[in-house]
């Protein structure tokens, strides 16, 4: 596997969607290629940051207002 192929398969590798052979080839390439190791590592960190931090919620005052408006509309329909 070369760098271009590794990049192609990167998401499947991260999600463990590669079959055994391809996964072994990817690992082999990663063992010898520092650049691809950085790309893999920083992609995983990127994903993990968004997963940890992406869960914002509706601000309380908006939520309260929305809920009463909608509950009213729901009752009247």
């Amino acid at each position: 596997m070369n760098c271009e192929q590794l990049l192609q398969y990167l998401s499947d590798y991260i999600d463990q969607n590669l079959d055994e052979d391809l996964s072994a080839e990817a690992q082999e390439h990663l063992a010898t290629c520092p650049n691809c190791r950085v790309v893999l590592d920083t992609t995983q960190k990127t994903i993990s940051l968004f997963r940890k931090q992406g869960k914002r919620v509706i601000p309380a005052h908006r939520r309260q207002r929305l809920f009463s408006q909608l509950q009213n509309a729901f009752q009247q329909k």
Partner: protein, 193 residues
């Protein structure tokens, strides 16, 4: 699969307030996150949540339960967001350039960086960087990334919501991840330098 929601749909049809509360509590934040991710504006995102639930209220008597309530709500919300974006950008296209070509953008920044410590994760600074990175994506990549990565939906569900094939969802998620990596690498590499 959809049968499990039949009692809830029935309760909604009977205007049971608890049933509405349940659906609102379960989905309002999810829809808000999708809307704010796509529109990047709190007022507009609130409007999308309102309009989405109004549609549910209006259509509950015809709701056939062919899709899950959640999938249906996401679909409505996504389409409302796209209509909204189209008004702002009449030339908006939803197809990705080079989507079917095998060529991916080459990674440019190859500096490694450290994950910020847990206590800094909620900081204004980091939040702003993540928002900026998401904003750099096209709306179609953004929608896929939010649904798959942040909301944790499956490829199949995401495909159903966005009216795409599962293959396209996978390609777009891959591109979104690489592009976000590049954006964050630019920021963090500078921070750690």
């Amino acid at each position: 699969m959809t049968n499990t929601e039949q009692p809830l749909i029935q309760a909604l049809r009977q205007r049971n307030p608890e049933a509405f509360t349940q659906v609102f509590n379960q989905y309002s934040d999810k829809i808000y996150r999708l809307a704010i991710g796509l529109l990047n504006n709190e007022d507009e995102a609130e409007g999308i949540v309102q309009e989405t639930f109004m549609r549910l209220i209006e259509h509950i008597d015809q709701f056939e339960g062919r899709s899950q309530i959640g999938t249906w709500l996401y679909r409505v919300a996504y389409n409302l967001c796209i209509d909204h974006l189209r008004k702002q950008q009449p030339n908006l296209t939803l197809a990705e350039e080079h989507e079917n070509s095998a060529k991916l953008p080459q990674p440019v920044i190859l500096t490694n960086w450290h994950q910020p410590p847990e206590k800094l994760l909620a900081s204004e600074e980091i939040m702003t960087q993540l928002d900026k990175a998401i904003e750099s994506l096209s709306p179609t990549l953004r929608a896929v990334f939010i649904l798959r990565e942040i909301e944790g939906l499956s490829t199949a569900e995401t495909a159903q919501i966005l009216n795409l094939t599962p293959g396209t969802v996978k390609v777009r998620l891959h591109r979104a991840r690489l592009q976000l990596r590049e954006q964050l690498a630019a920021y963090f590499a500078e921070q750690t330098a």
